[in-house]
């Protein structure tokens, strides 16, 4: 199919429907409002449920109910709204329910601002709920990738019985780009939802959706079961793109809109004869540690670039494990750097390394 121009938020809404989503519960917040607004219009055509909840807290708990009832469901919000969902999210992870959560990130902390940001990296990848759990989390950089990942997310959520978060900065939500929402995604075997509470109809044992284990040994066993799942994700779901890393002295680590800006910076650097690579995490949980192992020995330093004061850099440090020096460039609060700023940061880093 030909690519059509769509706004990021609307494309995510449509992608969800194409991914089988038939229940959306959300609450208004800028800059993601076009997701619910789009689904309010379109979901009824697909026989699905659109409901505006009374709050983010209610919305995520409606997701718990609907997912528990076996229906592919999604909520979306933006930074402070995601903070409010944390208890609901840890419940969903604890009860091993699939669902998709979109975070169209804006500046923080607190009410912050409404301009694009990546300052929720830790909120997304470390969880803000209690207990030993993780979300499968993706941070695409353009609308085609976003749409594909939203669609896949519903499969992955069911395969792992775990919430999947898609974290995009506000710019990706607000921008328009050509996109093909019908692009094929990998076919996966989806396990039957034998656990869903749909009424026994006298045909099976009753199902219980639950995260409570009063016996500590039972809770430990449950946690270890979850951990095995996260370990499997780590093994199977690391996604990343390596661009031009061969023969590069410096590799930029960046995702989402920041990665795009870095690509433009790389072009400028290339013109200046400076060969710079890009390691672009697509999954941010699991963090693509494997990508770091693939870096050639020509690489002498990593420059982490984020739309935050430095959050992913912790994961870079862990993946790098002391091997290479790590630099940082960040803008935050909704400020988007011009590619030239990154050019400068790279040149400065090279200079610093030379002086050492």
């Amino acid at each position: 199919m030909a690519k059509v121009m769509m706004k990021g938020n609307e494309a995510m809404g449509l992608a969800a429907i194409k991914g089988g989503c038939r229940a959306f519960f959300g609450y208004p917040i800028t800059p993601q409002n076009e997701i619910p607004e789009y689904l309010a219009r379109v979901m009824p055509e697909y026989g699905g449920v659109f409901l505006q909840a009374e709050s983010e807290v209610a919305a995520i708990n409606m997701i718990y109910g609907a997912s528990g009832a076996g229906v592919r469901s999604m909520t979306s919000s933006s930074s402070p709204g995601i903070a409010l969902k944390q208890e609901g999210i840890t419940y969903i992870a604890g009860a091993e329910l699939p669902c998709v959560i979109i975070n169209v990130m804006r500046g923080g902390p607190g009410l912050g601002g409404i301009q694009p940001s990546q300052a929720d990296y830790k909120q997304v990848t470390r969880g803000g709920g209690n207990g030993d759990y993780y979300l499968l989390a993706f941070a695409p950089e353009n609308l085609q990738e976003t749409v594909n990942i939203v669609k896949e997310a519903f499969d992955l959520a069911e395969i792992y019985r775990n919430p999947v978060m898609i974290a995009v900065d506000g710019l990706i939500g607000q921008m328009m780009e050509p996109v093909d929402v019908d692009m094929e995604i990998p076919k996966r075997e989806i396990p039957e939802k034998t656990w869903a509470t749909t009424g026994t109809l006298g045909k099976r044992e009753r199902n219980v959706v639950n995260s409570l284990y009063l016996d500590p040994q039972a809770l430990e066993n449950h946690s270890l079961k979850l951990k095995a799942k996260y370990d499997l994700m780590r093994e199977k779901e690391q996604r990343y793109e390596l661009v031009n890393v061969d023969h590069s002295e410096i590799v930029i680590v960046a995702y989402g809109t920041m990665a795009r800006i870095c690509r433009s910076a790389m072009e400028i650097l290339n013109e200046k004869g400076i060969n710079v690579g890009l390691l672009r995490p697509i999954s941010i949980y699991p963090f693509p540690e494997k990508a770091f192992a693939e870096l050639p020995s020509t690489v002498k330093g990593l420059l982490t670039c984020e739309l935050s004061t430095g959050q992913m850099i912790d994961d870079v440090k862990i993946a790098n494990n002391g091997k290479l020096p790590i630099g940082f460039f960040g803008r935050t609060g909704g400020m988007l750097p011009e590619p030239e700023e990154i050019v400068d940061a790279v040149i400065k880093m090279i200079g610093g390394m030379k002086n050492e």
Partner: protein
């Protein structure tokens, strides 16, 4: 053209977003890569609204436009804000009905187009933005009017089909102004 980066700015309600969107849609129709991106949020209320469009044969990387090739300025505050953001030898298209100021820079090509007055003449003050678009298209030779009209037809649907001719006239009026 290899790539064109445009900023459009004005009051909320002047239709600057539409100018940008039409450019982006047209670019997609014509097989270019493109990215449209609005400033958004409450500051659009009363203040200025603006959007950026990148059109390119290559994949679009940075959505952020450091230096635009062209800027379209529909009101005075926008001129103050964007005057510096156009590259040397770039173009500035100014709604001279509302902007009674001249551009300070001498390294750019400036077009003063009284689009509000012209729209009033055409009998529909709302098409000022299409006049501006026509002027821009004429100057940059980016797309033909047909592409734009096709897009408008699609977006207007049957309910608003009667508005097509006046929009067509508006585009033309903009082109004619530039040609003269």
């Amino acid at each position: 053209m290899n790539s064109e980066k445009i900023n459009c700015a004005g009051f909320g309600g002047q239709g600057v977003m539409l100018i940008g969107q039409l450019l982006a849609y047209a670019a997609n129709e014509e097989g270019f890569n493109t990215l449209w991106y609005p400033s958004y949020g409450p500051e659009t209320r009363g203040g200025t609204a603006n959007c950026s469009v990148t059109i390119s044969k290559q994949p679009v990387n940075s959505p952020v436009i450091s230096k635009a090739d062209s800027i379209i300025i529909m009101n005075k505050p926008s001129l103050d804000k964007f005057e510096d953001k156009v590259r040397p030898d770039g173009k500035i298209f100014i709604n001279s009905t509302l902007v009674n100021k001249k551009v300070n820079r001498s390294d750019v090509e400036v077009f003063y187009i009284p689009v509000n007055d012209m729209a009033a003449e055409l009998g529909n003050p709302k098409v000022a933005n299409l006049i501006m678009l026509g002027a821009y298209l004429e100057s940059t030779k980016l797309f033909e009017d047909e592409v734009i009209i096709k897009l408008l037809k699609k977006s207007f649907g049957e309910n608003k089909a009667h508005l097509i001719p006046i929009n067509q006239q508006a585009l033309q009026a903009g082109r004619i102004f530039i040609r003269q």
